[in-house]
Symmetry: C2
Subunit: 422 residues, 2 copies
Amino acid sequence: MKASAFSKLGQRTTDPAISWLMKMTLDHPHIISLAAGFTDDWSLPVEETRELLNELLASSTAARAALQYGSTLGDATLRRLTIERLRAQDRADVGGQYTPERAIITHGSQQLLYIVTECLCDSGDIILVEDPTYFVYLGIVQSHGLQCRGIPLEADGIDLIRLEHVLESLKRTGEIRRVKMLYLVSYFQNPSGVTTSYQKKVAALKLLRRYEKFAGHPIFLLEDAAYRELRFSGPEIPSALAEAKFQDRVIYAGTFSKPFATGIRVGYGLLPRALFDVAARVKGNHDFGTSNLLQQILATALQSRRYDAHLSVLQQRYQKKAKVLMRALQQHFPQAVEWRPAEGGLYIWARLARGGKSGPKSTLFETALARDVLYVPGELCYASDRTRPLPRNEMRLSFGGATDDEIREGIKRLGSVLRDCL
Amino acid sequence: MKASAFSKLGQRTTDPAISWLMKMTLDHPHIISLAAGFTDDWSLPVEETRELLNELLASSTAARAALQYGSTLGDATLRRLTIERLRAQDRADVGGQYTPERAIITHGSQQLLYIVTECLCDSGDIILVEDPTYFVYLGIVQSHGLQCRGIPLEADGIDLIRLEHVLESLKRTGEIRRVKMLYLVSYFQNPSGVTTSYQKKVAALKLLRRYEKFAGHPIFLLEDAAYRELRFSGPEIPSALAEAKFQDRVIYAGTFSKPFATGIRVGYGLLPRALFDVAARVKGNHDFGTSNLLQQILATALQSRRYDAHLSVLQQRYQKKAKVLMRALQQHFPQAVEWRPAEGGLYIWARLARGGKSGPKSTLFETALARDVLYVPGELCYASDRTRPLPRNEMRLSFGGATDDEIREGIKRLGSVLRDCL
């Protein structure tokens, strides 16, 4: 087929890094994967789901509602529960932003990221992202022909001085007109594990607003809170929604899948009013509404408190697995490798000493593969941005899908690979 | 918010007709809706789904697989079952097109339509559609800034002479280079109820191929078979896939939702090899795979034959409801209103005598609303195409969601409205 049968998007869209990682797993059937973003298999809510479904399907009125089409925006009860939950998490007593009218239910939060991006960005537009960032989001960015500017992460979120510097330099070149949003994975970030402080979110919003007059249009903060509920230590931090005066600039993406069951794909977005209508129309074009059965399962799980009961089990489980990983790192990794303790989420980010190479073609990666252990090379988690050098000495280690024994053995192997290669 | 915060797509996307129709329903709580595309509530598979889920969740290994992430392309078993089913329906013994490697599972077939369209079409590109056509697809078209050329429908599918005429005139103006595909809703079409004959599909494929040399690229046939399994009379007609020599030009979109439960959104596509990879990448960006639980429910339903058992109940149910509608039309509609007997699907298309007006602002529509009965004005089902006049004297009547009594009473009211207004 000649390329011209495809749209520009079709021609542009490359194979994502995740396909390559999955191929590695398939090609090495005995591999221990510390790469996969899967959640813990053992703790999936089998019993809870069976109970929920039997309850849901016991009343034929409720059952028929669950098995029929819903609406584009999503189930009214689930939208209300979503908002109530969010308001409680943000400890926000007031604020017009917490209304079901601004909530939309999606087929996983990934769909929300996709829809928001296509509603706001044309090819050539610029998104500010964290360095490193969620690599599946970079697939959306690549496909839509967007540019990125990476803002380095510190222990409590992006480096604000660097953010200002980047904005200022975009203002100087006139490219500020192409800047549409700042994308933050704000809780236990994938891949770095970093949580952004509330102060930094507000400061970032202020900075963005300051540059809007040069952009000529709003610049949004897209807060991806996918890992928020997978917190096992440290305080609850409010989302950017809590800052009421920026409520027309914050897009909040959340999910019920990771904290409950990833096979039940239900995410949601809370959107500024003006963007909401456009996103809702585009959602209508995508699928005119997320599967009603999935939404009813989650609404029932939330109402019956089974969701929270399960979540608390899950948090303890991940806390334990994170500890197993951290203990193994202390035991087997060279001292020169830096990493931070996990307080939630599924990942630990490890940084080799300067000059160490962890990339897909590095001796390290290939030796690890030969010894049947897989990690995500850190460089896959950086946006394409020629204005800064690409760090090549990092790795993402997941304690989500692997068992305790696999984590121990995997880190042990990786430790010996590190000693042999570096 | 200034418009320039949005992408071109975001700026372009208008509110779809369906929102307006839904608002009509909400504003008139006692209305009888012959407009909604809902399926029959009474026959939703409540018992079957409960059994399926208990079976599925009984084994904790199977349960955990169902509650965990799947893969972007979809569950391997479901993809294989989909292909086997399609091959049997097409009575195709051979043909490399029927391979699971070309099947992708989507969140309803609407998502497949969306992905295919964005992979192939840039703003300004041309899609050939049926006159009338599936109006929700027109939302995708509008949002992406595409042009349409409408090809009139005859009793057995599009008017081929008219198709050739349109292609020839696009060739003359050079616009043929913008033509990307022909979109056909080939079985019991929404809205007209028309089924396209196999001969016409093949003839259309030949015609398209003939014009490819002027286009400079492939022109695809997108066959939307959403209503295929809802057949209650007439012979099974093979899909365009059955014509092996055009297998690299046929995109087939199917669904398991309408024939089983619309609350369980699972659709699929069978794609030409070159398009498959691109569509799979874009699906990865949309949601990296359809909800695994939904897929497992359907795979189990297909394997246990519960799907087919339910389908046969459903077909009888719709046959009965179609008869109720047709009998009511005979009894209450003026002779001058033309309509064809339904052989499947959910719709009957009625055409008033020339000069009759059925549009959203017509006296007819408003009087019907005042008497609490709703239909879809036919003109909403026509693409924007200034090269032909827009028929304004038609209506889509659904026997899907309404009960037998509602159908009888609704048609009775509509009959009296017709007599009063025309």
